[in-house]
Symmetry: C2
Subunit: 341 residues, 2 copies
DNA sequence: TTGTAGGCGTTATCAA
DNA sequence: TTGATAACGCCTACAA
């Protein structure tokens, strides 16, 4: 085996097949513009040589990459996994590839990755939530990169978005909790700063309290990053109050999983001693013990619709629509009515 | 705001700053070769214009991308999340970017994605496991793309790899299970075909049986994809046997989570009625009820070491070493000795 | 249906 | 320290 192995290029294929590079290129991109005979010969040569088109050269010449970029806050847990999977499947069906990065919930990292993805020639971008610097939106518009915001519903409709109203969703759950007689509510929230989803969910609870004549400022809230262990720690802190809460509402299922786990270690029965709720309805929610009452989010739908909208924008079929999806309550074992003494 | 916004290029910067494109390029890549004065002027221009280097052009000219590609079998659950996170952090610290794709456990999809990543100019690749067609290894070598195999320990040392011996690890757990008096063992395995990790783990159990004078062919095994629901279904099937198993060993924690969940629904107490074990020790394992006895895999170490090895290979400091890591048993509540009647 | 040739935005080699 | 200029591999009018 020679050590100076040459990586075949379009030129090589053209030379061996006895045609021009233009013809080879056509065989790759617009087969209908090529006679069946040459097509066959060229394809055989491509195979024989083991030729693979150079993506970067392609991107430069065509100014299109058939690549969509997505930046999600975390890959560490399953929150975005299902939606992203659907997103990617839909893209793939239309001949697009997906590039994913994770911003670790850090705005500056997200900005950096947006630039990186654009620099790589992404035809479009999927971002989570709407809360970020105006400079980023300006940049995206200047570069003409179609962008869809997901997992959120942008309040002033200035951007293409596919998602749901986090505030209304959580308010719906809180209404139910209050209707069950709970009056001592505590909250384990995600970090609200720079996270419109977390902020909306927390606000939803407060709005519900107000609507029921309760004082929203008296609500005990712990903000913490979305990790199981953090949920556990926050739960323990909240339960140390006297009198202790009858229900702990969590900003997502991961925090709730931590809370349930810690409850067990503390010898507290759920929901007999304390109710716990989540948000997202990831697979974990239905295998926890007790099973978790949570807000069901249509992750797969969101992913599919976001992908389709983005493709439509890239291909100039849409100017950027706003789609608002419905969520529902998944009532399970971890929440139950307060039993009056 | 003009509608014909122009995206600034190196040329634009050069023209505005009154220098050549070569100088601008130097300011970007080898600042020490440029006088402080021009450097400052050029940097200011870059800022003013909002210039971002075009990645594809760069890749073509430099034949390096500072990008590493990784193809993992799934993003749907947390199995690879922690290790990949560590992998990416280590890369980032050395100025490399990470591109991730998921193959959904499909060999042909993996092959396709390997080609895609190479076509994009990835400087190196991280793959999971060693079992794949020789043609792929040939391709990688022909293209001169450094590759590290992880989550596995290649038997014949022909490739760079960072991982552990799946077979020995599971055998260690099985030895323990047998030492606890269990004789009716059943297994929920991942799909062995094309998955050397799953195959090794299953083999480990069989070897342990043989060493203990048991018949490995009498072992009930269900192979199924790594999903919670599949673990649950398989568990139910296995428990329908008479006499039923005293322990169900699962190919990973996700399957075990499904098994525990289903046990509860069936009214079976774990570990009183049946013991359950997992593999991987993902975060989920310690919050399940009961907590899961499993094989602890040093995910973060694996990610860090793999990244470092890959970087060393890309930068010609290593020819491709093989690193074998130690695993340990995480003994928790879900496994307990058989109580003789 | 096929071929010619210019250009995409960088880097890198040589000179100056 | 700086500047021309030739690649890099492909696409795409435009011509034939």
């Amino acid at each position: 085996m020679s050590d100076t192995t040459h990586i075949p290029t379009l030129d090589d294929v053209a030379r061996v097949a006895g045609v021009s590079t233009a013809t080879v290129s056509r065989c790759l991109n617009e087969q209908q513009k090529v006679s069946a005979k040459t097509l066959e010969r060229v394809m055989k040569t491509i195979n024989d040589l083991g030729y693979t088109p150079n993506f970067n050269a392609r991107a430069m010449a065509a100014k299109r990459t058939h690549t969509i970029g997505a930046i999600i806050p975390t890959m560490e847990n399953a929150i975005f996994a299902r939606g992203l999977q659907a997103f990617q499947e839909t893209l793939h069906a239309s001949g697009y590839n997906l590039l994913v990065s994770s911003s670790a919930y850090q705005p500056d990292l997200e900005a950096e990755q947006i630039r990186a993805l654009v620099a790589r020639g992404a035809d479009g971008l999927l971002l989570i939530g709407y809360e970020r610097g105006q400079d980023i939106y300006d940049y995206l518009q200047r570069r003409g990169v179609p962008t869809v915001l997901a997992w959120t519903s942008h309040p002033d409709g200035g951007h293409a978005s596919v998602g749901f109203d986090n505030c209304a969703a959580m308010r719906m759950l809180a209404d139910r909790v209050l209707a069950m007689g709970h009056r001592r509510i505590a909250v384990i929230s995600g970090i609200v700063e720079g996270n419109d989803r977390a902020e909306g969910r927390l606000r939803g609870i407060r709005e519900s309290l107000v609507a029921h004549g309760q004082d929203p400022d008296a609500l005990p809230v712990i903000q913490t990053a979305y990790e199981i262990e953090n949920g556990a720690a926050a739960f323990e802190t909240l339960m140390a109050q006297d009198p202790r809460p009858t229900v702990v509402m969590c900003g997502n299922d991961v925090l709730a999983a931590g809370a349930i786990s810690r409850a067990k270690h503390l010898g507290l029965a759920v929901p007999e001693d304390v109710s716990i709720t989540g948000f997202d309805d990831i697979e974990l929610a239905s295998i926890l013990h007790p099973t978790l009452t949570t807000v069901h989010v249509p992750h797969r739908d969101m992913g599919c619709i976001a992908a389709q909208e983005l493709i439509d924008m890239v291909e100039k079929r849409s100017m950027g629509a706003t789609r608002k999806l419905e969520v529902s309550l998944a009532m399970r074992e971890s929440l139950r009515p307060v039993v009056e003494p």
